[in-house]
């Protein structure tokens, strides 16, 4: 009988692997760190329960941010959706709500995200393709038609144009007669990761950060239930980085935003409670659970130790999760249902506040109604049938999970201090640091698949001959023309003097510290378009240019 892990490794394990070697010489985490065959009490020798975990709803929130977690209510099931025009997307939202989805998540098309109206030359070919085209309040009214905005929370994946889309949402809610104190939701509003990985930036960093802090300041008083930012690791992970890099790069961005808000005169505890986070969930089932748990502990430390937070709400890391789009395969697409199920299970065991499950056909095209339904049902089956949601943080105390949580945390802190040495997230971006790190990790993953160190079922092993794609979603190609017509009609019938006056005010405020939000609301209420507002701001602020790293 072995008396310790070392004893066992030297004896029983060595003898067994001497006879039959492991199926791989080395097992690794996503960052390439070696994983032992077994974990035990020795791995948690210095480990202190109260310091590392505590209890749900209490510092350092490792076990979850709410005291009741999923016993109170399940996570918000929030499928990211949007395509074509506002009318079609409104129909998809009503379908999803009728199927039991509990919150909306709006995908905008690329022109809307980059501040071009549907009739702009830059928008050609892109209108309504990856999300819904929203150019004016008329579109936002259609998008939210028949959906009570006081009762439903809406998440909007929008960054460079986030303040304008928020202004549109607020204007639509006001038209419904809603009380703004009851309007809840989230805008992504995270520009730094756009420079690093996602690419829908418009303006240079300084005015972009100013718009973000304007949103923080305005929402604090006028839209108190709104999550003003969703600081996102998702897209950096999708671009190829590791779990620990995902955390570190995201917290570096968070620190940049908090510092900008403090410089603008806000107090951390005033806005800290409205910061939300957004993680990816990739395929390493246990490492991802550890990552979610580590993320809460890191943020609680940043909030208290760095920013002196006294308010627990500002120390809790609340997050949305999306399963890993980059883990989906175009080959044998039904296998993606299984991948997504495992990833969703990780997110639930990791204590997510809301969840998007990818549809099986998304490596091929936008999802169909049928595939989206399966994705939503996956969450419902986990929530109602699996029992995984019945006990809070059920994997706590597992030697491996705790050792892995500690390790992901340590790796993330190490990266974070490297970024601090460069002068922070923005300096790192300008030097191409995060971009290069992500590229390196992406290339390593690609090579590992090509040498079969990493098996991707159906892609580099267990390959079958496949015939045709399943039925794919297609966006109507005549949409661009219809949108051009409807914008021409809008520009002809609105009060163009009011539009010009609103744009003049925005131009004048661009060079000052005046909060932009009231001006944007005034402009969109006069049916000024997203492209017109961004056109003025482009003239005033210029545009960001990509840092080339390859």
């Amino acid at each position: 009988m072995s008396n310790s892990k070392q004893d066992w490794l030297d004896g029983t394990w060595a003898k067994a692997t001497g006879r039959n070697p492991q199926r791989r010489p080395r097992f690794e985490s996503s960052s390439g760190a070696e994983v032992d065959p077994i974990y035990g009490p020795e791995d948690l020798a210095e480990w202190n329960y109260h310091e590392k975990l505590g209890y749900p709803g209490e510092f350092p929130f490792t076990r979850g941010v709410q005291p009741t977690m999923y016993r109170g209510r399940l996570w918000t099931m929030r499928q990211y959706a949007g395509f074509a025009d506002a009318e079609e997307s409104n129909r998809r939202y009503k379908f999803l709500l009728a199927q039991g989805q509990t919150g909306l998540s709006v995908a905008f098309d690329l022109p809307t995200q980059i501040g071009y109206d549907s009739d702009s030359p830059e928008a050609e070919g892109e209108v309504g393709k990856v999300g819904v085209a929203i150019s004016s309040l008329a579109d936002m009214e259609t998008l939210t038609d028949g959906i009570p905005l006081e009762k439903i929370t809406t998440s909007m994946t929008i960054n460079a144009t986030a303040p304008i889309l928020l202004a549109l949402y607020v204007a639509a809610a006001k038209k419904q007669g809603a009380d703004l104190a009851k309007i809840g939701g989230t805008i992504q509003n995270d520009i730094l990761k756009e420079y690093i990985a996602r690419g829908t930036y418009i303006f240079p960093p300084r005015p972009s950060l100013r718009l973000i802090t304007d949103v923080f300041a305005w929402c604090k008083d006028s839209l108190p239930e709104w999550n003003t930012i969703s600081i996102s690791g998702y897209h950096m992970r999708e671009a190829g980085c590791t779990a620990a890099q995902e955390l570190a790069f995201t917290f570096a961005d968070a620190i940049e935003y908090v510092d900008a808000a403090l410089n603008a005169g806000l107090q951390f505890d005033e806005f800290g409670g409205r910061l939300a986070f957004f993680w990816a969930c990739h395929s390493n089932f246990l490492e991802e659970i550890a990552k979610f748990r580590a993320s809460r502990r890191i943020w609680a430390k940043i909030a208290t130790e760095r920013y002196g937070s006294k308010d627990p709400r500002a120390q809790m890391l609340r997050f949305h999760t999306q399963t890993g789009g980059a883990t989906l395969t175009a080959q044998q697409p039904l296998n993606n249902i299984i991948r997504t199920t495992l990833q969703a299970m990780s997110a639930v065991l990791g204590g997510t506040q809301s969840l998007h499950t990818n549809s099986y056909d998304e490596a091929l095209a936008l999802p169909t109604e049928k595939s989206v339904e399966v994705a939503l049902r996956t969450q419902q089956i986990i929530g109602y049938e699996s029992g995984a949601a019945d006990v809070i943080d059920p994997l706590a105390g597992s030697y491996y999970i705790e050792a892995l949580t500690d390790r992901v945390e340590a790796e993330a802190w190490a990266y974070l201090s490297r970024i601090e040495d460069l002068g922070g997230a923005l300096q790192g971006i300008e030097q191409g640091f995060q971009q290069r790190e992500i590229q390196e990790s992406a290339f390593r993953l690609q090579r590992m698949a090509e040498t079969k160190e990493r098996i991707v079922v159906g892609v580099n092993d267990y390959v079958t001959e496949e015939e045709i794609d399943p039925d794919l979603m297609r966006v109507d190609t005549a949409l661009g023309k219809r949108r051009q017509q409807s914008l021409a009609d809008l520009r002809a019938k609105r009060d163009n003097q009011a539009v010009q006056a609103a744009l003049k005010k925005i131009r004048a405020a661009a060079g000052t510290n005046e909060n932009m939000m009231p001006l944007l609301i005034e402009a969109v209420e006069a049916y000024t378009t997203v492209g017109e507002i961004c056109g003025v701001l482009r003239e005033e602020w210029g545009e960001y240019r990509e840092v080339m790293t390859i």
Partner: protein, 135 residues
Amino acid sequence: MADERPIRVLIAKPGLDGHDRGAKVVARALRDAGMEVIYTGIRQTPQMIAEAALQEDVQVVGLSILSGAHLELFPRVVEELKSRGVDDVLLFAGGIIPKDDITAIEAMGFKGVFGPGTDTNDIISFVKSNAPQRV
């Protein structure tokens, strides 16, 4: 005697999507295979891509797109290339491109369309065996 100068390749991202993981991985793999690779960065108009292909005197142009706008944007790139007299380059494409669209893309003059999960060695040998000789 065979031309032993390295093959020059332009990897470009037309349209507005920022998904550059695939483009960068392919650029890096072709470079590691000894080619000279110019990567344009994201959000390139068809004019910008054609101009870069002309200025950089490339033999190969690879387009990467994940926004679904390939059927609109690819023909415009081809047209801009032709209008600059660049009609002898090897064209290939990658991204989220439904199989149904491949015939149409091939008809525009693309010799290869590579979807998710492609082994970069396949792209390397494709480029090596199809790149036109320099004149």
